[in-house]
């Protein structure tokens, strides 16, 4: 039996107190698609950084075709034939596609453009070589990254969560491309936490949990339940059931909202219309970069409209488009932004001081001064009610893991007893246990008569908790869709702008 293309032996990496990778062994055979399966925070990204030479291991050995190698830089890894497509793309936005590629691949621009087009034909990766990257969609950028890797003729291609940025239809195309590459002799290391994808695509799967290997299996021999148990250490939580609710009063209304962004790389909004009532959850689906950031700033009040257009946003039946965040919150609005550090919480401040930021009307101030006792009591309450794992109210917000901080911010906002709750990416980067707890809490809020608006990229999540779904594509919002009658394919068509056009 030939030596594996890549072997890792006893790879260990710690950051301060945290053990990101502990004694990891991995063998990637030549000509195979090998999955690394694990939750957020299981150590997948760290392991890839070690393989690609971005970080150095504390202990352990890397074998390439059976011979030990020292990977000290990405350039070194590339020389061996390791290419990587990053989750957060490593393209240069102000350069054109061919300029981006020429930073790695030698050759004249005209010559490279021809090769880019030829490769695009062969592998279904069509992209204009002379387009500026900032003008490309997320899917096109991913194609550019893959083309850039392929032009270096790698033996091993690493893809970090490649499907998280793609609509369902494009995932199929990507898988076809990857299978063709494998048949052409390239091994692929496919990092994901999506069980179905791994079972559909991969020949082998190594499962990580808490920085350790908990399984090394052929994913086709195991069902999703087995894989999930290896990945999270217990059974998958049961899905939620939404009981129908009578329609309540109107809590949020956007009517024909248009907006031109300040940021030239941002997405404008065109005629966004939605109505959200008490006692329902409305989900906004769509691939990020289609106007989600702009829409959430307009709803939160971080972007305000001129007074003449105040009617375009109404909350609790009042025209509030011209009001700032504090005035909107005073009406009973609460908001959990996508970025936890910097927008949802101040990383350098204690949890207690972070509670003060939005919960100060709940008696945390006495004659304009901070009531430290009330502040600590409120914070301890949030920590206990929402199962936040932390040393206490004095812990710095930045020291919490993403999931724990999200639970704390959710807890703080829910404690305000809002009439309208807006959550952007509620479970992004959160482990399955905490994600389930957050979703249950959102449904509970809905059942208590709160109007809940959720922006999420995770379609499964929206299908689980939403009464209605609308899809944002290129700044335009689809009509309201019913997740009980429309399947993911229909939502997916709206995500790529292919639905409703012919009609």
């Amino acid at each position: 039996m030939p030596a594996p293309l890549l072997s890792l032996r006893n790879m260990t990496k710690t950051y301060g107190q945290t053990v990101a990778n502990s004694a990891i062994d991995l063998d990637v055979a030549a000509g195979s698609i090998h999955a690394i399966l694990g939750e957020n925070g299981a150590g997948k990204s760290t392991l890839m950084k070690l393989i690609y030479g971005v970080e150095r291991p504390d202990e352990g050995e890397v074998l390439w075709n059976g011979a030990p190698v020292h990977l000290t830089s990405p350039a070194e890894a590339r020389r061996l034939g390791i290419g990587m497509v990053f989750q957060h793309f490593s393209l240069f936005e102000t350069l054109t596609v061919v300029e981006n590629i020429s930073l790695i691949v030698p050759g004249s621009k005209a010559d490279l453009a021809t090769r880019i087009r030829a490769l695009g034909q062969d592998f279904g990766l069509v992209v204009d070589p002379f387009a500026h990257v900032h003008a490309l969609s997320v899917g096109e950028r991913q194609r550019v990254e893959i083309i850039r890797c392929l032009l270096t003729e790698p033996r091993l291609l690493i893809l970090d969560e490649p499907t998280s940025v793609l609509p369902p239809q494009a995932v199929g195309l990507l898988f076809d491309t990857l299978r063709r590459l494998r048949d052409g002799g390239v091994s692929i290391l496919f990092i994901s936490h999506k069980l179905d994808e791994i079972r559909a695509l991969c020949d082998r799967a190594t499962i990580l949990r808490g920085g350790r290997v908990t399984g090394d299996v052929d994913p086709r021999d195991h069902d999703s339940h087995d894989l999930a148990r290896m990945m999270i250490g217990r059974d998958m939580p049961a899905p939620l059931h939404l009981a129908p609710m009578p329609q309540g009063d109107l809590r949020l209304e956007l009517s024909g909202l248009n907006h031109a962004p300040d940021d030239p790389f941002g997405m404008g909004l065109a005629g966004v219309t939605l109505r959200l009532h008490a006692g329902e959850i409305l989900g906004i689906a769509g691939i990020s970069g289609n106007g989600q950031a702009e829409l959430s700033r307009l709803i939160s009040g971080e972007t305000v409209l001129p007074a003449a257009r105040r009617d375009e946003i109404r909350m609790m039946d009042k025209a509030i488009g011209h009001l700032g965040p504090a005035e909107r919150r005073a009406l009973g609005f609460a908001f959990v932004p996508e970025e936890r550090l910097g927008r949802g919480a101040v990383p350098d401040m204690s949890l207690a001081d972070n509670s003060l930021l939005t919960a100060h009307p709940l008696g945390l101030l006495k004659r304009g001064l901070i009531d430290r006792q009330a502040e600590a009591k409120f914070t301890a309450g949030c920590i206990a009610d929402f199962d936040v794992r932390t040393s206490g109210p004095e812990a710095e917000a930045g020291s919490l893991s993403g999931g724990n901080l999200q639970k704390f911010i959710m807890g703080r906002e829910i404690s305000l007893n809002p009439r309208l709750l807006f959550v952007a990416q509620p479970t992004w980067g959160v482990d399955i246990g905490a994600a389930t707890a957050i979703r249950h809490r959102l449904v509970q809020m809905r059942n208590e008569g709160v109007a809940v608006l959720v922006i999420s990229e995770e379609l499964e999540e929206l299908f689980e908790i939403c009464d209605r779904i609308q899809v944002l594509h290129k700044g335009a919002l689809s009509p309201s869709l019913d997740p009980r009658s429309e399947g993911p394919e229909e939502i997916g068509r709206w995500m790529i702008g292919a639905a409703g056009v012919a009609a």
Partner: protein, 303 residues
């Protein structure tokens, strides 16, 4: 000679100190580093250049020595700001003050002494044209500066090196991920900027006004810094900006000789007023800044 002819003939020479310093700073900023020590690097280069010429070393040696002086200060700046990832603003200001102090120190015994500048070389044929003829009679350094402008323009537009510099300025983490040594390249850019600042200072002190007076750089380094933003990090615009400042500074002389009833203080502050107004106009165009700007400017990068 009319006012217009006077301005056209002197504009390029007046623009050259701005231009050389700004071209150096353009390369530094494109790589993602903000060097606020430009004024001090120019002052030190000016003092060293003047001393070399006065002591009989000649202009060639003076420019080489001034370039090395600039690189020396740039290495201090780069070592702290790039190597040790100190705050670029603080280190830049400190190195700038150091350069001005060194310039006063070494220039102390040369105060008010004069030397001879460089001869003007005429561009045959064109220099005899009416009105604009004066544009084509310039000293060798002006001609070389024009060539340097063209080379830097071509570097950013066509060469791989220009592409790499733009890449490490926009997204250093991504540049490292694809295998470039970001901080080594940034240090090289900073050294180039230091050498250009040294040349700019030497030109001001040994060619443009060949006499030594403490503080003779008189804010030209700050104008050069403003020019880089003013030109939205594009070589051609920086060149036109430098010419504009050259012309404005000559216009104040013309106004004085013509006896216009304008206070001379107001006239000599004209370049700064122009800088503030133009910067205000340029920075109001967010799209232009975002597309041509340097995303990681001023942020130290650590692996």
């Amino acid at each position: 000679m009319s006012g217009i002819e006077f301005i056209l003939a002197g504009m390029l020479a007046a623009a050259t100190p701005f231009l050389l310093a700004a071209l150096g700073e353009l390369v530094v900023e494109r790589a993602g580093v903000l060097n606020l020590g430009l004024e001090g690097m120019m002052a030190f280069g000016a003092a060293i250049g003047f001393i070399v010429v006065y002591e009989g070393g000649g202009h060639f040696a003076a420019f080489v020595a001034a370039g090395f002086a600039g690189v020396g200060l740039a290495l201090i700046f780069g070592g702290l700001a790039v190597g040790l990832r100190a705050n670029q603003v603080a280190v830049g200001l400190a190195v700038g003050i150091l350069g001005q102090g060194l310039s006063s120190l070494v220039g102390n015994s040369y105060e008010s002494l004069t030397i001879t500048g460089l001869p003007k070389l005429a561009f045959p044929g064109l220099s005899d044209l009416p009105v604009v003829g004066g544009l084509f009679v310039q000293d060798i350094i002006v001609w070389l500066s024009l060539i340097a402008t063209a080379l830097i323009w071509a570097m950013f537009r066509y060469s791989r090196l220009g592409l790499i510099l733009r890449a490490i300025g926009e997204n250093p983490a991504a540049a490292r991920a694809i295998g470039y040594r970001v901080n080594a390249l940034r240090l090289c850019a900073v050294m180039f900027g230091g050498a250009m600042a040294g040349f700019a200072g030497a030109y001001a002190a040994t060619v443009y006004t060949p006499l030594w007076a403490d503080g003779m750089i008189a804010g030209r380094g700050w104008i050069a810094l403003a020019l880089v933003v003013f030109g939205t990090w594009l070589t051609g615009r920086i060149f036109f900006g430098a010419c504009l400042f050259g012309a404005v500074s000559l216009a104040s002389l013309v106004a004085q000789t013509e006896g216009w009833a304008v206070p001379s203080q107001l006239l000599s502050s004209l370049p700064y007023i122009v800088a503030i107004v133009v910067l205000g106009i340029i920075t109001s165009n967010k799209r232009l800044l975002k597309i041509n700007g340097v995303a990681s400017l001023g942020e130290p990068f650590g692996p």
